[in-house]
């Protein structure tokens, strides 16, 4: 049971518009200290925009129109750019999918890590480099003294992602937002990075908001999962609950479309007909209505709220009682 007395991060009703289209629509979730919350969904579901909005990093076309982002007792949503700059890296950090694109190609990795520390603490150059060296050891980079002087192009993708993690964590933030941190990496390197993230949680009590599309990664590391579809949370649950008892048709179909050990080879996998609607095509009702096998007229006109389904488990579906029918429809 992970429900703490008070969550560390409390995001409520987060809403983002692009050109009048609502691309993130009332997203709410909480993260306890030392907990990994996964936001999962397919491309365009709004999971990355949710992450960017939390740090005030939205692209200029996008605008956060509503929402509260409580980190401890401070609301990041009310912060000025100046306040955000102070908070980013110190209280809440982010790492991205493509580590080599996120690092400055013209600066040594040592100075990039040390800069992050000096900006927030005002430490001396020597102290910051010593701290950077220590971070390299912590993120499992062998031969740290040599690495400090190297440039990103001299390092592999997995190594660059470790550098990104070192930069993100050098000031000891309480929350790390990781946007598809292993998607660009080989599976063997992915396993190393996931293990590193687990170690951070265990050693420092860092909370992680993990953005991913990979149900395997979710199964490996997440404590809680929020499944997003077309800008909204479809279902949110403790990880084992979600896999054992999906309570939203989208989650159930998504899980059934992944080849698993218990599916016979070459047997048909479950599919979701059609494709994700664009924000211009969103109707007034449930966004999944156009593809849902359980759809009724009500679904098309009325948006379902998140119904409680058990401890920490909520699902936005009018027909939760009929979820079992999905199993009968699978190939």
């Amino acid at each position: 049971m992970h429900e703490p007395i008070r969550p560390l991060l409390d995001v409520s009703d987060l809403t983002v518009d692009i050109d009048g289209a609502r691309v993130v629509d009332g997203v709410s979730f909480t993260v306890a200290p030392g907990e990994v919350m996964a936001l999962v969904g397919e491309s365009g579901c709004g999971k990355s925009l949710t992450a960017f909005a939390m740090l005030g990093l939205l692209p200029s076309v996008a605008r956060r129109t509503e929402g509260r982002i409580l980190l401890g007792d401070r609301d990041l949503a009310t912060f000025s750019e100046r306040q955000l700059r102070k908070a980013r890296g110190k209280d809440i950090s982010i790492i991205f999918q493509e580590p080599s694109a996120s690092l400055d190609p013209l600066a040594s990795v040592g100075s990039q890590i040390a800069d992050a520390y000096r900006i927030h603490t005002g430490a001396s150059r020597a102290d910051a480099f010593e701290k950077a060296r220590q971070m390299l050891v912590d993120v499992g980079i062998p031969d740290p003294d040599r690495r400090l002087d190297q440039f990103p192009f001299e390092l592999s993708g997995g190594m660059c992602q470790r550098i990104m993690i070192a930069i993100a964590l050098i000031c000891g933030p309480r929350v790390l937002v990781a946007d598809e941190p292993t998607t660009a990496l080989d599976v063997t390197i992915q396993a190393q990075i996931l293990d590193l993230m687990k170690k951070l949680v265990a050693d420092h009590g860092t909370s992680i908001v993990l953005i991913t599309h990979d149900m395997g990664v979710v199964a490996d590391i997440a404590d809680h999962v929020a499944v997003m579809y077309a800008g909204r949370i479809a279902e949110i649950a403790p990880v084992q609950d979600l896999f054992d008892h999906p309570a939203h048709p989208y989650t159930a179909l998504l899980l059934a479309s992944v080849p698993r050990l218990d599916v016979a080879p070459k047997a048909d996998l479950a599919t979701i007909e059609g494709s994700v609607p664009t924000p211009q095509e969103f109707g007034p009702g449930c966004h999944f209505a156009s593809r849902c096998p359980l759809v009724t007229d009500k679904c098309r006109v009325e948006q379902p709220p998140l119904f409680a389904q058990g401890y920490g488990h909520r699902s936005a579906c009018w027909h939760i009682d009929r979820i079992a029918e999905i199993t009968g429809m699978l190939p």
Binding site: E42, S43, S156, G158, M159, D186, V187, T188, I189, Q190, A191, Q192, L194, D195, H213, D214, M215, G216, V217, V218, A219, D220, A222, V239, Q240, F243, L253, L254, L255, S257, V258, P259, R260, L261, V263, P265, K266, D268, L269, A270, T271, I272, S275
Partner: protein
Amino acid sequence: MSDTHQVLEIRDVAVHFNGRSGLFGRSQFVVKAVNGVSLDIAAGETVALVGESGCGKSTLSNTIVGLQQPVEGSIRIAGEEVVGARGKALNDIRRKVQMIFQDPALSLDPRSTIGAAIAEPLIVRGIARGEALKSRIAKLLTEVGLRPEHADRYPHQFSGGQRQRVVIARALALEPALVVCDEPVSALDVSVRAQILNLLVALQKRTGVAYLFVSHDLSVVRHICDRVVVMYLGRFVEIADRDTFFANPKHPYTKALMSAVPEADPRLQRSRERLILTGELPSPSNIPPGCAFHTRCPLATEICSRVRPELTSRADGSTVACHHV
């Protein structure tokens, strides 16, 4: 000696690249991307080729379809030798092997309708024109789950999954014996991935086409493939039938790969024994001596750094290149 049921026979194929580095490119080096591999694929069979990026799997697939020339070895497609073939003979062989790439958006010309994209191989080979061509395109589109009227649309009007269907239709237009699929579902979303996998399986059942399926996703490989080949730094380290492979993986690298791929089941994933490799894939321009895997191998001993293990057959029919298993 060629057995007519084999659509692909590769013998001792090596592919090397010359590289230059340093000031004015004065220092030369050779990248040994593929280093003496042999493999047969039978009609209707799906063989998976797995390994990390840089292991040579894409170079090998490109070589099989003729986008790369091997420095040595023989490649036969449906019994005909490709290496050294020229002109019309080469063209006739190439018709029998087609390729599907990872990103369908990059495999289609944005300025040409998908009908034109599918027609091109048929026109180039002089197989069909006029009404016959039109009905052939309509049939191909229907086979991959699209509608004949889609022929007049452009790639940007389709989703990623639909575009991959178009690419598959184009690859099948010439009725190839073998389709090399290089990470065909890696760029697709999970729900769409399942549609494409179902389609590939259904097409194989209908046409008897063989697939060489290049992938790093072992759950997909387990689902779709009959046989699995594991590649590490230019060489095969393990070849086995699917069931043997997944029930009893032998090479330490295979075991490491398997334990690195997370299972989409939290209870199973968190309880299984895992072998996490330290370090990263060495550069193919500087392959370690002996067994190339010895720098990362938990079982490595002195002999591994001196003597390269050959692929040898095991009682259960698999072949493995390791001194210690």
